[in-house]
């Protein structure tokens, strides 16, 4: 499956993707493929299965068209944040039933502490919690602006 990169990568710890399909599983696959291109993973099939299993503990959709998934995993070689946008929206089993237009995948190496992973996820959630911020991201697809927005995410 082709990954559409909206902008060339300038910061190797961040990327912005166009999520072209409707299903959550396909988006998770796209995230893993992108992380693989960033050489951030080993055993990508395990990471994909881990992301799918995480959804079975409860959807990672946080409501109002926003989802933040991720993995704290020994399969992650280097920290990476992937942000995907979808104009049409993805089915993500959200509690409010809303399709997801901005989905983020936070990958943290398993050698780091879980506390660091929680802080990274929390920082991403905080940076993108406003709907108008996410709308601006959907409208402009500006990686430099996104990088600035996520500058507080610990590495």
């Amino acid at each position: 499956m082709a990954i559409a990169e909206i902008f060339p990568v300038t910061d190797t710890s961040l990327d912005l993707l166009e999520l072209r399909h409707r299903r959550r599983e396909t988006a998770l696959h796209q995230f893993v493929q992108s992380a693989l291109e960033h050489r951030a993973l080993r055993h990508p099939e395990l990471v994909e299965s881990q992301l799918a299993r995480r959804e079975r503990l409860g959807s990672t959709a946080l409501g109002r068209g926003f989802a933040v998934t991720g993995a704290w995993s020994l399969c992650v070689r280097s920290p990476l944040v992937l942000v995907g946008v979808s104009e049409r929206g993805l089915e993500w089993d959200a509690e409010d039933g809303a399709p997801v237009h901005v989905a983020t995948c936070v990958l943290t190496p398993g050698e780091c502490t879980e506390d660091l992973h929680v802080r990274r996820v929390t920082a991403v959630v905080a940076a993108l919690k406003l709907q108008r911020t996410r709308q601006r991201l959907i409208d402009r697809r500006d990686l430099a602006w996104l990088a600035n927005l996520l500058r507080e995410v610990p590495r």
């Binding site: 395990l46 299965s49 995480r54 079975r56 503990l57 409860g58 946080l62 995993s73 020994l74 996820v121």
Partner: protein, 113 residues
């Protein structure tokens, strides 16, 4: 599937299950905004995987899991990242070898980079 890869999957599953079953860890995730529930299907996945594993190695893994919260550790530049012990050159497996090894320092199963 190599035994090392199978133990890696077991480790990943155990860490995921602990996010929901450990009250302190689950509380942190709920504070971020997630709804976490017990997932009996994940427990079944774990049981299905565990029965395929060598019982002796599984015993080593589970002892360390109980003691340290992790039964597996990665090795970078011959250092066990679980206990920071520098492993002897002779401890490194030959390239391509997927066999399991145990850290002399902490006893965890080792995943060589």
């Amino acid at each position: 599937m190599s035994m090392a890869r199978a133990f890696l999957e077991l480790h990943e599953l155990d860490q995921l299950l602990a996010q929901a079953s450990d009250p302190a860890r689950a509380a942190r995730w709920r504070k971020v905004g997630y709804t976490l529930a017990a997932a009996p299907t994940l427990v079944r996945d774990r049981e299905r995987l565990a029965v395929t594993l060598d019982r002796r190695w599984l015993g080593v893994y589970e002892r360390c899991l109980g003691r340290y919260g992790k039964g597996l550790s990665t090795v970078r530049k011959r250092v066990c990242l679980g206990c920071r012990l520098t492993l002897p050159t002779s401890a490194a497996p030959p390239p391509g070898d997927a066999h399991l090894h145990v850290c002399e320092g902490c006893g965890r199963l080792l995943l060589w980079d």
